[in-house]
Symmetry: C2
Subunit: 107 residues, 2 copies
C-alpha cells in the first residue's frame, strides 16, 4: 500500500508456519485473501514470507469497526481455528491506528 | 514481539530491494539494527524478506517521540539516503499506534 490516510487501521499479523500441509495452507490463504477483499472497509494488504517460514502480513482497514467485522466473520474465524491446529506454531497480532504515512518510489 | 501494551508505536516499513549490492546492504542493515537497539524507547522488531526482495520490518517504540528521535538520528538519516540511492526501488512507511495486541503460542 502507498501513503495511507491518518486513522487507517493496520492489522499486523506475524506468524511462524509449521513445516506441514503447505497445500492446505496455500488454499486457505488464497481463499481468505479473496474473501477479505470483499469486506466493507478493506483497503489492501502487504504480505511477505521468508524461507524460514516466518511471515508478516499487514492488512489495512478504513475503520476499527471494519477490522473487527472481518475478525468476527464466520469463515475467517473457522480458518483461524485451522491455523492454530495445523499451520502455525506461533503468532502475534497487533491492531494499530495510522498517524503518519509515507511512500517513496525511485524516479 | 509478543503482546504489546496499548499506545506502543509501530513503524511498518515495506520495501522492495534492488538486485545489487547485497553485501553493502547486509552490512548497513546489521549496523542499523545494532544502533536502533541502543535508542531510548526501542522495544524490538519483526522483520521478514521474501525471495522476490520484498521485505517488511516492523519496529516497536515506547512513544512517538522515541520513534521520531530514531528517524532523525544522523547515522540513520545518512543510511536512509544510501537506501534511496542503491538498495531500494520503492518503499512505504506507516507509523501507527497500537490499540489491541494478541499473542498465541502452540501448547
Amino acid at each position: 500500500m502507498g501513503k495511507l490516510p491518518s486513522g487507517t487501521i493496520s492489522v499486523i499479523f506475524i506468524a511462524q508456519r509449521t513445516v506441514h500441509d503447505d497445500e492446505g495452507y496455500a488454499r486457505a490463504a488464497t481463499e481468505m485473501h479473496a474473501l477479505s477483499e470483499q469486506q466493507p472497509g478493506y483497503l489492501g494488504m502487504d504480505s511477505v514470507r521468508g524461507q524460514d517460514g516466518l511471515g508478516i502480513t499487514v492488512s489495512y482497514w478504513r475503520s476499527d469497526a471494519d477490522a473487527k467485522a472481518w475478525r468476527d466473520h464466520p469463515e475467517h474465524a473457522s480458518i483461524r481455528d485451522a491455523g492454530r491446529d495445523r499451520w502455525y506454531t506461533h503468532y502475534s497480532l497487533h491492531v494499530a491506528e495510522v498517524t503518519r504515512s509515507y511512500d517513496w518510489q525511485k524516479a
